[in-house]
């Protein structure tokens, strides 16, 4: 089988040294993606277009006009970020046949830096799920154990990076959808501060929680990619205007000025695998050895996070997904007699069970008579949670937790048990509710599967977060482990 691709930094350096061409890299990436086809990481490859773009890149570089040091590096994006002329389905039947006439903000940024999108990655339908099993393209597989899920909903992106068909990929994170699959696949995944990366062209699941971020094998690669995609976008009213700092320059390896908070509530959560906890605790000790101080912090409203999240996320989703009605684009049901049947049939046939469940839940949450008890109350709790984090961050710079309570579960294991599936989001959803940045990085193995350490930072302090994660990776080699090659 064709070799896995190197890291973003390695490829950047190889291109700079003319040791390899972009065309070679893109061809290698495509070949490896095809070789791993059965893992269902991709929903579509841009073979022809990507190779053509690579040729253009090589010509640019030869004439000294490279767009950025990363010009010519192959990358993958999740199937919920639109790209002009490309199908975007969000792994849903209802978007069958939809080809975007416009580019998302992140696709524009990738193109401006010369990165080449080789394909679109698999996901849970409309990013609703934690296993990439809810996809019309079939369940994605975890490269570490093909019987297990890669996590979700950005399971295709995490799986592709772990498998090595791309050095990095973009995912989206509404309640953990970058960090949890990163943890499951033993790669690094960063959810930036809400508003740091433009949502223009990201198909909405829950607008107030959705955020695009990078997945890669190293923290440094995440920093490199975040540098490319971060920044203000006038087309996104929730986009933040603050200037983007130099993220790689922040990676000094020094954490002696930092205090890491250990939230008691997180470590005492029910249902967490002791093996997972052991890995995380050991990682924190390693950071202490690197000079960081630790202290206990408290997030008293944390126990309401999952309930709050599932009320708000489903409410927003029920409205965001109303536009898929079969009238203008995507799938339209045939043989209908009237408008109501058009809606009913189109949406019944077009959406999968999990999406329907959440639309129904969200519709209920917003209904007259229940709004105050559910939606409004959840917004109030969200404010309390945000304050909890603000309070905790008064006495620490970083908060450390497990990313997920367990390692990647087996395919089908939780399909019939949505509540258990929702509970696996316990460590991640509060971060989206608070709008702060979070990163998951490999910190060991439990039951033969990778374990993720989650680090959380203050709003817009991605640089501190990346510095801490990078410092840990300088003292550990978990991120250099690769899954066994598929036979």
């Amino acid at each position: 089988m064709v070799e896995r691709l190197g890291t973003l930094r390695e490829l950047r350096d190889a291109l700079a040294a003319r040791a390899i061409s972009s065309q070679q890299l893109v061809a290698q990436a495509l070949e490896r993606a095809v070789a791993g086809k059965s893992l269902h990481h991709y929903v579509g490859l841009r073979s022809k277009a990507a190779l053509a773009e690579a040729a253009a890149t090589d010509a640019r570089r030869a004439s000294g006009a490279a767009r950025s040091p990363l010009d010519g590096v192959p990358i993958a994006i999740k199937d919920n970020m639109v790209q002009r002329g490309e199908a975007t389905t969000c792994a849903s039947r209802i978007l069958e046949g939809f080809v975007s006439p416009y580019d998302s903000g992140v696709v524009e940024k990738l193109a401006a830096a010369g990165l080449i999108v080789i394909g679109r990655t698999n996901m849970d339908e409309f990013a609703m799920g934690s296993s990439t099993e809810h996809s019309i393209y079939g369940s994605a597989h975890n490269p570490w154990d093909l019987e297990r899920t890669p996590g979700g909903s950005s399971g295709g992106s995490a799986g592709a990076v772990a498998f090595g068909s791309v050095p990095a990929a973009l995912g989206s994170d509404t309640g953990g959808s970058i960090r949890q699959p990163a943890a499951c696949c033993g790669v690094v995944g960063l959810k930036p501060t809400y508003g740091r990366v433009s949502r223009w062209g990201l198909v909405a699941f829950a607008s107030s929680l959705d955020q695009i971020g990078p997945l890669a094998r190293t923290t440094e690669d995440c920093a490199l990619l975040l540098q490319v995609i971060a920044g203000h976008d006038r087309r996104d009213s929730t986009s933040l205007p603050e200037p983007v700092p130099d993220y790689t320059a922040a990676l000094t390896g020094d954490v002696s000025d930092l205090v890491i908070g250990i939230p008691v509530e997180y470590f005492n959560a029910e249902g967490v695998d002791p093996e997972v906890l052991r890995c995380v605790r050991t990682a924190v000790v390693e950071l202490e050895k690197a000079g960081a101080k630790t202290r206990e912090v408290s997030l008293p409203h944390l126990r309401y996070a999952i309930a709050t999240y599932y009320l708000l996320a489903t409410a927003e989703a029920s409205s965001n997904l109303a536009r898929y009605d079969g009238v203008r684009y995507g799938r339209r049901a045939q043989d209908v007699r009237d408008l109501h049947e058009l809606y009913r049939k189109t949406r019944s046939e077009g959406f999968g069970a999990e999406v329907k469940r959440r639309i129904l839940l969200g519709t209920f949450v917003l209904s007259s008579g229940y709004y105050d008890a559910y939606y409004r109350k959840a917004q109030q709790v969200r404010t309390l949670l945000r304050r909890d984090f603000e309070e905790a961050f008064r006495s620490c710079n970083i908060i450390a937790t497990p990313t997920a309570p367990e390692v990647a579960f087996r395919l089908g294991e939780k399909s019939d048990d949505p509540l258990t599936m929702y509970l696996s989001d316990v460590y991640t959803v509060s971060v989206n509710l608070a709008g702060i940045p979070g990163i998951s990085l490999p910190c060991g193995f439990a039951h033969g599967m990778p374990v993720g350490l989650q680090l959380l930072g203050r709003a817009l302090e991605e640089a501190v977060l990346l510095r801490t994660a990078d410092a840990y990776q300088r003292r550990s080699d978990w991120h250099t482990r690769t899954p066994p090659e598929v036979a």
Binding site: N80, M81, L202, A206, D236, S237, A322, V327, L366, Y371
Partner: protein, 492 residues
């Protein structure tokens, strides 16, 4: 209908804000564009699009709120109103719900009492909020829809301002006066063209009846899409009759939404309230709350154009007009502007006011148009008045020519010449004609000499006839009087 019911009406007006682009997208607002041409990915509700608020629309909303004496809220929130319809691309309309941009104002209206006296009345404004328009569904086979329906999304996302009145209106006439006054105000402050034919000014009405003096309001019904002033009055009359009929028969009015059919002059129930939709309003998470500071409000206030009431007072004083005349001249901004420009052209207000109040208003009423529809300019009107002053045309002929001149424009002097309506200013011709008339009517001259002064009018008429009405009557009168006096003195 029994006269012992008190009529209670509140109006909801949607007016289109005069912006170049839509409320949440850069797509242009164009009237009459081919279907689905004035659209962007945002208007189409494509996956991944996001709304960005049009700053100009906010300014216009604040301006309107100030002109309506409302409290402007420096923090307001856009909400989603969720419902399915093919011309609603996102499956929700972005509107303002719990926190609108302005609340609590009033609008002055003029009403006429049964005795014909004008009274002014304050109608409370409950709230003013911004929202986006939906598209247009076409179910008409003639438009190519066949058995199906077509959707035109050009209008989707066009900025609207919803202005909700208190239930302070007590008759269809008051409702009409309110709408006229509101439309005039919106045009005055240039926030909306408010052209009803273009759908830029639309009205829904809430109406209920109660026994005079009853403490509580009766059950109200809502009349939808009343899209002309005549329609509004007709629909309200029909609905009052319907409700009164129910109440007279001892029944109860059911809360419902109705439509008006002008052909049958009846209202028809569209749906009862118990089937009312649940719009599941919630704050739009794609938009941040709209926040501005008091300075913003003050800067809009500072740039507010003169309001109708202020203009009325100024006209009375500056141009020495009666309140009645000033009110007519300030009834709409374009007429008021025309008057002032004409005064500048001509130099004096009184003759200009006379021409406008008499001839121009009559023409506008007959034609049922606004002054913009005419070719008449202030310069043209001033020129015409000067021609009369100079005796180049008689006032009567000038007035005859006025409608044509106003509609088609051109040089009044040339038109007068073409029509052969130049006043006879040739002193010799007039003198000869007068002599001829005196010579032809010795009896009348004799009777005049004997004190029958009214015979002067008869002789005048004869001169007018012989000069085909082109002579200035005053000049003829003076000429004849002079000649006759001379004859009286000369004859023993």
């Amino acid at each position: 209908m029994s006269s012992n019911y008190e009529i209670v009406i509140g109006l909801e007006v949607h007016t289109q804000l005069a912006t170049r682009s839509k409320l949440f997208s850069t797509a242009p607002v164009v009237y009459g564009a081919p279907p689905n041409h004035s659209v962007s990915p945002v208007c189409l509700g494509l996956p991944g699009v996001l709304p960005v608020l049009n700053a100009r629309a906010v300014e216009l909303a604040i301006r309107t709120a100030l002109a309506l004496h409302c409290k402007v809220h420096t923090r307001s929130v856009f909400a989603r109103k969720n419902y399915f319809y093919p011309d609603l691309p996102k499956g929700y309309q972005i509107s303002q719900y719990e926190e609108p941009i302005a609340t609590g104002g009033y609008l002055e209206i003029e009403t006429e009492s049964a005795q014909g006296e004008m009274h002014s009345k304050r109608i409370g404004i409950t709230r003013v909020h911004m929202e986006e328009d939906a598209g247009k569904s076409i179910h008409d086979a003639a438009s190519g829809a066949g058995n199906g329906s077509l959707v035109d999304l050009n209008r989707a996302g066009v900025p609207l301002l919803e202005i909700v009145s208190e239930p302070d209106l007590r008759s269809p006439e008051e409702a009409r006066a309110y709408l006229r006054s509101l439309r005039s105000l919106l045009r005055y402050i240039e926030v909306s063209e408010a052209d009803m034919e273009k759908g830029q000014f639309r009205c829904d009405a809430n109406i209920s009846l109660r026994t005079a003096g009853a403490p509580r309001l009766g059950t109200r019904t809502e009349l939808k899409n009343l899209n002309s002033f005549r329609f509004v009055e007709g629909a309200l009359r029909a609905e009052i009759e319907r409700q009164a009929g129910i109440l007279d028969a001892g029944g109860t009015v059911q809360q419902a939404t109705l439509a008006y059919d002008p052909a049958s002059r009846r209202t028809r129930v569209l749906r009862l309230k118990e089937n009312a939709d649940d719009y599941r309003y919630f704050p739009d998470p794609d938009l941040v709350p709209l926040v501005f500071d008091d300075e913003k409000v003050e800067s809009v206030r500072a740039n507010l154009p003169e309001l109708p009431a202020q203009k009325l007072a100024r006209f009375e004083q500056q141009y020495e007009l009666s309140e009645y005349d000033a009110r007519l001249l300030t009834a709409n901004r374009s007429l008021a502007d025309f008057f002032e420009a004409s005064v500048v052209e001509y130099g004096q207000p009184k003759p200009v006011a006379n021409w406008i109040l008499r001839d121009l208003l009559q023409l506008l009423n007959t034609r049922d148009v606004d002054i913009e529809a005419l070719a008449l300019t202030p310069a043209l009107l001033a020129q015409l008045i000067r021609l009369v002053d100079a005796g180049r045309v008689t006032a009567r002929h000038a007035r005859e020519l006025f409608p044509e001149l106003a509609e088609r424009g051109g040089d009044p002097a040339v038109l007068i010449r073409e029509r052969g309506l130049e006043a006879v200013s040739d002193g010799g011709l007039l003198e000869r004609t007068a002599d001829e008339v005196i010579a032809a009517h010795p009896d009348s001259v004799e009777r005049y000499k004997n004190g029958e002064e009214k015979l002067l009018n008869f002789l005048m008429g004869q001169v007018m006839q012989r000069t085909q009405g082109k002579a200035n009557p005053q000049a003829i009168r003076e000429l004849l009087a002079r000649k006759l006096t001379r004859i009286i003195h000369e004859t023993p």
